[in-house]
């Protein structure tokens, strides 16, 4: 009986709608400017999802509005519809096809996740300390140079942030880097990012941490290596002792690798 439905036409309209929605939505830079090597990968994943979602949404719209147009009861018509209880082939189709789509999406996400978190042997470690309602940062090198409210990093170098919260949970987010990680009291959390555009950005706290949460921000400066080195050289503050102790007391949230073998 589904032969009575203009299935080819409905599919064509769905595809046309998908193309239109995708053509409007894909060119828009939803996540804003990107400034790390992870950004284009995440943005691309998002665009793939937009196209897939546009298809699903268009399909639902076409199915719904065609039905509403074609099968709307005439005024005064009190009869019933046809007693169709289902269609096994159709039901198998709309179980299997979405399963394949989401498994594809999952596999692709997994790959992107591995890509953006791949550690380079040649990385730099910067420590992040968060407390109500301020950020501070410690840089490698002698005496643990320390800065408050301003984070500097060299461009095109992989940075591994080791994060420590001193009171409640805070969350480290630089939208342009597309990287976010909670800072959790008692443990050390890690985030990896390779900034690839020189500029000044904002670090935003995204985990509710009290009345000062909305204003808990810091400036992020990405600059050429030479400038960065000079800036660190010029820092006259050392990391305060309590912060260093907090680092030592923390355990890491990363479990040992499964193939690390017994110690």
């Amino acid at each position: 009986m589904y032969g009575r439905l203009p299935i080819v036409k409905m599919l064509l309209v769905t595809i046309a709608l998908t193309v239109v929605i995708s053509a409007v939505m894909v060119p828009i830079n939803w996540n804003g400017q990107g400034a790390s090597t992870a950004a284009p990968k995440i943005d691309h994943l998002l665009n793939v999802m937009i196209v897939l979602s546009a298809f699903v949404f268009s399909l639902v719209m076409v199915m719904l509005f065609y039905a509403l147009w074609k099968f709307k009861a005439k005024p005064g018509d009190e009869s019933d519809g046809e007693p169709i209880h289902g269609n096994t082939r159709l039901e198998i189709a709309w179980t299997l096809i979405p399963t394949i789509i989401v498994l594809f999406a999952g596999g692709y996400s997994w790959k992107v996740l591995d890509d953006i978190e791949e550690k380079s042997p040649n990385h730099m470690t910067v420590s992040v300390f968060s407390q109500q309602f301020a950020w501070s940062f410690a840089y490698p090198g002698k005496d643990y140079a320390w800065s408050e409210g301003e984070l500097h990093v060299p461009v095109d170098k992989q940075i591994v942030f080791k994060m420590h919260a001193l009171d409640v949970i805070h969350s480290f987010w630089v939208p342009e880097w597309r990287i976010k990680k909670d800072n959790v009291p008692g443990i050390t959390t890690t985030a990896t990012v390779t900034p690839d555009k020189v500029g000044t950005y904002q670090l935003v706290c995204t985990e509710l941490c009290g009345f000062g949460h909305s204003t808990m921000r810091a400036t992020v400066v990405v600059e050429p290596r030479a400038k960065f080195d000079k800036w660190v050289e010029g820092l006259d503050q050392k990391t305060p002792k309590p912060l260093l102790e907090a680092v030592e007391e923390s355990t890491t949230s990363e479990p040992p690798a499964l193939d690390a073998g017994g110690a």
Partner: protein, 638 residues
């Protein structure tokens, strides 16, 4: 007067609350006095002389109000009157303010009470949007703002969406399965009366020193373990709401499993019954987790235990694991009953059997099973073990499959039907399909770890939860309220006002919550009283639509109140539906059925000449009896 105090009711309830409250207060003071401690401990996480009465006073109210009378008499060996129906049914509006064991009265009590909390929570949303209309701080300061969005969410989740579904099902479900009442009517009444107490505890936290709880509805430790007194009110309110939920779920399970009318096999149950069976399975297994974790927070606060105190060896992240182990299933607790409502409404108004009925029921069970294995997708950036992310992502994405089955089956139900859109219930059900699809799509995106890393804790999340909770759950709640309004009140509502409410709500929902996706992806975090200038214009637009959305709900209130009082009388079966609740008068007789109906077929046998779902008392009683041609819909027996 003395008589009024002896009888269960409001006077005895108030006296019970005061007496038990005073006892709790006195106990704390006495114990502190004999321990040589200062009588009043007023650290912000302390206040035992407030916390203990906050536990005992509500219990005293329940005892005084009469919730335990029968059981206490029975336990004490005093004579009870098993067939005393004085607490059953409502003859006047006053009976709705009493301890009443009639599932229909309790259903109405639930729906009205929860809608009061819906409007209180909505008022808070209006204040939130007023503050966010412009960058900077204008109306409330940051600390008050945190209290506002926390109580907004808590009222909406714990004392509106979850219990309103329990209320609708309370009314409809026993009728649908041909039962005279719920399995445990007194437990049912107790469940209801715990609910307003939970709401009062949540709201009264505004009176606590330091203001209402402000750690969000998620109450993450250690922000919550160190928060002012109001947080303890949240910890306790959740206990009452949770106990109410668990008791109701047990009641539904026993009712559904043991009290179906003869002939009502599992595969003949309407999907609303299936939906509440699934929801109840979630509630009984998951809700104890949030009750437990809130006690752990309360103990950390008041007794200085170290569950989540990192300085004392506690583990901060374990709070989130336990919390989300409840709160992700809770998302389905807030959605599955709505799925059931939409199935009933769409099948009835499309005059068609549900497409793929068995797969629809199995999809519900599939969601129940999967929903226990996805909780950590709320924690992709929380710093948990990183290898937990990928498996949780895969299960999260897979849960879209049973949900998709439901969407496609509703659409399939429309095909070759006779779709009637005159009913506001049907409009909300159809719009639900569209808005919920969008909420589902953004949910799949959030399930993907790399995208989630970027948009976690931003307005994208706020947009997503409101699309699934407002565009999803609340739309189905409206559909359910409109659909069963004639059954519950015996009167028809005004469809014209219903349509104004529907279109206004649809425009308001999209206008408010669509742009939130955009500002979130572009960098606006959630739970902020103030934000960067660049988001100012979008936020102003969102606020304007939010005020519109709020204002349109007044049309709903007007329609419901006036129609309940003055609406034209409704017949037994205004929608010409098949399920059993429509075969009795509107409102149904006090004990539902003179004689338990006999179920002889599936619940959605539209379009099959002579097919019947149930045979009511007084109808032809031989199974499979020929029904005269031309009489396609069964007529209520009154």
């Amino acid at each position: 007067m003395v008589d009024a105090i002896k009888r269960p009711g409001w006077w005895r309830g108030l006296i019970g609350a005061v007496a038990f409250g005073a006892f709790g207060f006195g106990l704390v003071i006495a114990l502190r006095a004999i321990s040589d401690l200062p009588l009043y401990q007023t650290e912000q996480t302390g206040y035992p002389h407030v916390i203990v009465p906050a536990i005992t006073a509500p219990l005293g109210f329940l005892a005084g109000f009469g919730c335990f009378d029968y059981w206490l008499r029975w336990a004490a060996g005093m004579p009870t009157i098993p067939d005393d129906h004085s607490q059953h049914g409502a003859k006047s509006w006053k009976d709705y303010f009493k301890f009443n064991t009639d599932h229909k009265v309790i259903g109405v009590q639930y729906v009205v009470t929860t809608f009061i909390f819906f409007f209180l929570g909505g008022l808070m949303a209006m204040l939130i949007r007023a503050e966010l209309a412009q960058p900077g701080t204008q109306i409330v300061e940051a600390a008050t703002y945190n209290s506002l969005f926390s109580t907004h969410a808590v009222l909406m989740i714990f004392v509106f969406v979850i219990p309103v579904f329990a209320g609708l099902a309370n009314y409809v479900l026993p009728l649908m399965i041909g039962a005279p009442d719920m399995a445990f009517p007194r437990l049912n009444a107790l469940s209801f009366w715990m609910l307003p107490l939970a709401g009062i505890l949540f709201i009264s936290s505004f009176l606590a020193p330091g203001g209402a709880f402000d750690a969000g509805w998620t109450g993450y430790a250690p922000l919550s373990t160190g928060a002012p007194l109001g947080q303890s009110f949240f910890n306790l309110g959740v206990q009452f709401a949770g106990a109410s939920s668990i008791a109701t779920a047990l009641n539904f399970l026993v009712t559904i499993i043991t009290m179906r009318a003869p002939g009502m096999t599992f595969w003949r149950m309407p999907l609303l019954v299936w939906a509440n069976l699934s929801t109840s399975l979630l509630v009984v297994a998951a809700t104890p987790f949030i009750a437990g974790v809130q006690f752990m927070v309360l103990f950390d606060r008041a007794l200085h235990t170290n569950f989540f105190q990192f300085t004392g060896g506690g583990d901060v992240i374990s709070y989130q694991h336990i919390f989300w182990f409840y709160s992700h299933p809770a998302v389905y607790i807030m959605m599955l009953p709505g799925f059931g409502i939409v199935s009933e409404v769409i099948s009835t108004h499309a005059r068609k059997p549900i497409f793929g009925y068995r797969l629809m029921a199995l999809a519900l069970i599939g969601i129940v099973v999967l929903s226990y294995s996805v909780w950590a997708h709320h924690m992709f950036v929380a710093g948990m073990f990183s290898w937990l992310r990928v498996p949780m992502m895969i299960t999260t994405l897979l849960i879209a499959v049973p949900t998709g089955i439901k969407i496609f089956s509703w659409l399939g139900t429309l095909y070759f039907g006779k779709i009637h859109t005159y009913s506001t219930a049907m409009l909300f059900a159809l719009a639900f399909i569209v808005t919920f699809t969008i909420g589902g799509i953004s949910g799949v995106m959030l399930g993907m770890v790399p995208i989630d890393i970027h948009v976690s804790d931003t307005y994208f999340i706020v947009a997503h939860i409101h699309f699934v909770l407002f565009g999803g759950s609340v739309f189905t709640i409206f559909a359910g309220v409109y659909h069963w309004f004639p059954k519950m009140t015996g009167r028809m509502y005004d469809e014209k006002l219903g349509r104004v409410h529907f279109w206004g709500t649809l425009v308001g929902t999209w206008g408010t919550f669509i742009p939130m996706h955009w500002v979130g992806m572009d960098g606006m975090p959630r739970r902020v009283a103030d934000y960067a200038e660049q988001f100012g214009n979008w936020n102003l637009l969102i606020s304007v639509f939010a005020f519109w959305l709020g204002a349109v709900q007044l049309v709903f209130v007007y329609n419901m109140v006036v129609s309940w009082r003055y609406g034209p009388k409704a017949g037994a079966n205004p929608w010409r539906a098949n399920s059993i609740e429509w075969q009795v008068s509107s409102p149904p007789p006090i004990f539902n059925f003179d004689e338990i109906p006999r179920v002889v077929g599936g619940p959605y046998e539209f379009g099959i000449p002579g097919a019947k779902h149930a045979i009511m008392a007084g109808e032809a009683t031989t199974e499979g009896a020929e029904v005269p041609a031309g009489e396609k819909s069964t007529v209520g027996t009154g």
